[in-house]
C-alpha cells in the first residue's frame, strides 16, 4: 500500500526562508509528508536576479511537484515584486508546474487579479497571504497540485485506499465497507481531504442509495458505515461523531483525532 503522505517535493523560493513564518510552513509541509527544497540567499547574491536564476535552476534540478514563491525579494526598489517576474518565467518555461505565491496581506485580491491577467488563463497559480496558517498553506498546495491521493487517512486510525476500494481500521481490513458504502465514505473522505468543513449534499450521496426513498436508504447506509467503523474502533459512534448530518442538508466527515 502506498503511504498516505503526498510524498512529492515542494520548492520554496524566499529570501526570508529562515524566518519563523516560513519555517512554520516548512514544518507543516514536512509533517504532511512533503519534502522541501529551499532556495536560500547565498553570500554574494545582490539582487532578485540571483534568486531568479537560482530558482529556475533548482526547478530543473529537483523537478518539484509545486513551488512556494514569495512576491517580494529584499527591500531594493527593483526587487519589490521580483517574485512576479520569476512567476512569469516559471509559467512560460514550466506551464504545468503549480505555483503558490506568498503575498503580503497588504497586496490583496486586486493585485492578484492584475497578475492573473498577465498569465495564461489556465496557469496553475494561486496566491496566499503570508500570514496564513501552515494548515491553510498545505490545503491550498494540495488542491493546486491536484493531489487526490490513492490513500486517504481519516484521523489516526482509519485509512481508505481509493484504488483498491478498501478501508482499514488500525491496520485491519474492513470487509463490511464495500460497494456503495465504500463510495459514500470515499465521497466524504475526498471532500474532507480537499477542504475540511465541506459538506457533501444529499443530492451527491443519494446516487449511492437505492429504492424509492433514496434519503432513507442513504441514512441506513451511513448508519451501517458508522456501526462498522465504531465496532472496529471499539467505540459507539453517535449522531455527532465521525459522519454528521448537518441540518438535513447533507453529511460531512469530522474525524476526532
Amino acid at each position: 500500500m502506498n503511504d498516505a503522505r503526498p510524498g512529492g517535493s515542494i520548492l520554496i523560493v524566499d529570501d526570508e526562508a529562515a524566518s519563523p513564518l516560513v519555517s512554520a510552513v516548512r514544518r507543516g509541509l514536512e509533517k504532511e509528508g512533503w519534502r522541501t527544497v529551499v532556495v536560500e540567499p547565498e553570500e554574494g547574491w545582490r539582487s532578485g536576479e540571483d534568486f531568479e536564476a537560482a530558482a529556475l535552476y533548482a526547478i530543473e534540478e529537483s523537478r518539484p511537484d509545486g513551488v512556494l514563491l514569495d512576491v517580494r525579494f529584499g527591500d531594493h526598489r527593483d526587487d519589490l515584486f521580483k517574485g512576479l517576474d520569476i512567476l512569469r518565467k516559471i509559467v512560460t518555461e514550466h506551464p504545468k508546474l503549480p505555483v503558490l505565491m506568498f503575498t503580503q496581506y497588504t497586496q490583496g485580491p486586486d493585485r492578484e487579479t492584475a497578475v492573473r491577467s498577465t498569465l495564461r488563463w489556465d496557469a496553475p497559480v494561486d496566491f496566499i497571504d503570508k500570514l496564513a496558517s501552515p494548515e491553510e498553506v498545505v490545503l491550498r498546495l494540495r488542491r493546486l497540485i491536484g493531489t487526490a491521493p490513492e490513500v486517504i487517512r481519516v484521523g489516526a486510525r482509519i485509512t481508505l485506499n481509493v484504488s483498491t476500494k478498501t478501508v482499514e481500521v488500525a491496520g485491519t481490513l474492513m470487509s463490511e465497507i464495500s460497494g456503495m458504502r465504500f463510495e459514500i465514505l470515499r465521497e466524504l473522505a475526498v471532500a474532507w481531504y480537499r477542504s475540511p468543513g465541506q459538506l457533501v449534499p444529499f443530492a451527491t450521496l443519494e446516487r449511492y442509495s437505492e429504492g424509492e426513498d433514496a434519503r432513507a436508504s442513504l441514512r441506513v447506509r451511513v448508519r451501517e458505515i458508522k456501526d462498522a467503523l465504531g465496532k472496529a474502533l471499539g467505540e459507539r459512534l453517535g449522531a455527532g461523531d465521525l459522519i454528521i448530518n448537518v441540518r438535513d442538508q447533507g453529511y460531512r466527515l469530522v474525524p476526532k483525532d
Binding site: 512554520a24 485580491p109 460531512r252
Partner: protein, 330 residues
C-alpha cells in the same frame, strides 16, 4: 475652507466694493485734478473689491471643489496644487497602502515568533501546557481580526472615493468561499465551533463579478458568524438562472427585531445601542452591504432570537451571475 463660507466672503467683498464706488463722491477727496487719480481713491478700491468679489463668486460656481482646496484653514492661499476630493482620496489611498505595508511587518514578526515558540515548546516536551497554548492561540486568533480590520479600512477609503467602475472578472464563488472557510476554520475550532460549507450544484462554475468585493463581503459575514455562533456556522452557495446566493448562517442567540433595522448602519453596534463599551467598529456590515449594492446585488438579514429553539441569524448575499466583459448581461 468649504464653498459656502467662501461665497459669503465673496458676497461681502462685492457689497463693500459696490458701496465704495457709490459712496466715493460723497466720502472721498480728489487727489489731483490733473492726473488719473482725479477720481477719489475710494472708488478705485471699491472697484477692485467689486471685481475680486465677483471673480471669486463666479469661480466658486464654475469650479466647485477647486477653490476650497486652494485655501488653508485660515483662508489664506496655500500656494500648493489644487486638490479635488477625488485627488485627496487618491492620496489617502496611496498613504494607506504604505501604512498598511508598514503594519504588516511587525504583524508578520509577531505571528512568526508565536509559531516558532509553539514549535520549540512542542519539540522540548512533546506537548504544550494548556495555559500557554491558550495564550499562543489568542495571538494566532488576532491575525485574521487584524487583517480584516485593515482590509475594512482600505475598502472604506475606496468607497469614500465614490463609485468605482464595475468589474466583471471570471470568479469561482466556491473557491472564494472555500478559502475563507479555511482561513476561519482554525479560529472557529479554537472557540469550539464548526464551519460547514457546500454548494448546490456541487460543481458551481464561474460567475462574472468583482472577486475582491465578493471575498470582502463574505469574509465580513463569516467573521461575524464565527463570533456570534453558538456552535455551528454554515455557508451555502446556490444559484438561479440570473443570480447566485451566499447564505451565511449561525446558531447564535439571534438579533432582536429592533436592532435589525440598524444593523447595516455605519458605525452601529449593539454595544452602542446599549451604551456599552464598543467591541467592534460597526463598519463590517455597512461595508458589506454597500459593496453588495455596488455589485447590483443586495445583502439582507433574518434572525430568530432565543429562547426560540430555532434561534439563529442568516445573512443572504445575492449577486447577479453577470456576463463576460462586452457580452450582454443575462
Amino acid at each position: 475652507m468649504g464653498s459656502r463660507p467662501l461665497r459669503v466672503a465673496a458676497a461681502v467683498l462685492v457689497v463693500a466694493g459696490a458701496l465704495g464706488v457709490v459712496l466715493s463722491p460723497l466720502l472721498g477727496e480728489t487727489v489731483s485734478e490733473e492726473s488719473l487719480w482725479g477720481v477719489e481713491p475710494l472708488a478705485y478700491v471699491g472697484g477692485l473689491l467689486l471685481i475680486a468679489g465677483l471673480a471669486v463668486l463666479t469661480a466658486s460656481y464654475a469650479l466647485p471643489g477647486v477653490l476650497p482646496g486652494m485655501f488653508g484653514k485660515g483662508g489664506t492661499a496655500s500656494g500648493g496644487p489644487a486638490h479635488t476630493p477625488e485627488r485627496w482620496s487618491e492620496i489617502t489611498q496611496q498613504y494607506f497602502e504604505v501604512f498598511h505595508h508598514d503594519l504588516g511587518r511587525p504583524l508578520s514578526r509577531i505571528v512568526g515568533k508565536e509559531r516558532e515558540l509553539r514549535a520549540v515548546l512542542e519539540a522540548r516536551s512533546g506537548t504544550i501546557d494548556p495555559a500557554v497554548a491558550d495564550l499562543l492561540d489568542e495571538i494566532e486568533r488576532q491575525g485574521p481580526n487584524f487583517r480584516l480590520m485593515m482590509s475594512n479600512l482600505q475598502v472604506l477609503i475606496q468607497l469614500e472615493a465614490g463609485p468605482a467602475p464595475g468589474r466583471d472578472d471570471a470568479v469561482e464563488p466556491a473557491e472564494v468561499v472555500r478559502k475563507i472557510v479555511e482561513r476561519y476554520n482554525a479560529v472557529a475550532g479554537e472557540m469550539g465551533k464548526q464551519i460547514t460549507w457546500w454548494s448546490e450544484p456541487a460543481e458551481f462554475g464561474i460567475v462574472y463579478s468583482d472577486g475582491s468585493a465578493i471575498e470582502h463581503i463574505v469574509t465580513n459575514l463569516v467573521d461575524n458568524a464565527v463570533r456570534f455562533a453558538g456552535a455551528q456556522v454554515e455557508v451555502k452557495l446556490t444559484q438561479n438562472p440570473t443570480h447566485f446566493f451566499v447564505r451565511v448562517w449561525d446558531d447564535g442567540q439571534g438579533i432582536p427585531a429592533h436592532y435589525l433595522q440598524h444593523l447595516f448602519d455605519r458605525g452601529w453596534t449593539p454595544e452602542s445601542a446599549r451604551r456599552d463599551e464598543k467591541v467592534s467598529s460597526g463598519l463590517g456590515l455597512f461595508i458589506a452591504q454597500t459593496l453588495a449594492g455596488r455589485q447590483r446585488g443586495e445583502l439582507t438579514v433574518e434572525s430568530v432570537t432565543a429562547p426560540d429553539p430555532d434561534h439563529h441569524t442568516g445573512f443572504l448575499l445575492s449577486l447577479p451571475l453577470g456576463s463576460p466583459a462586452g457580452a450582454p448581461s443575462a
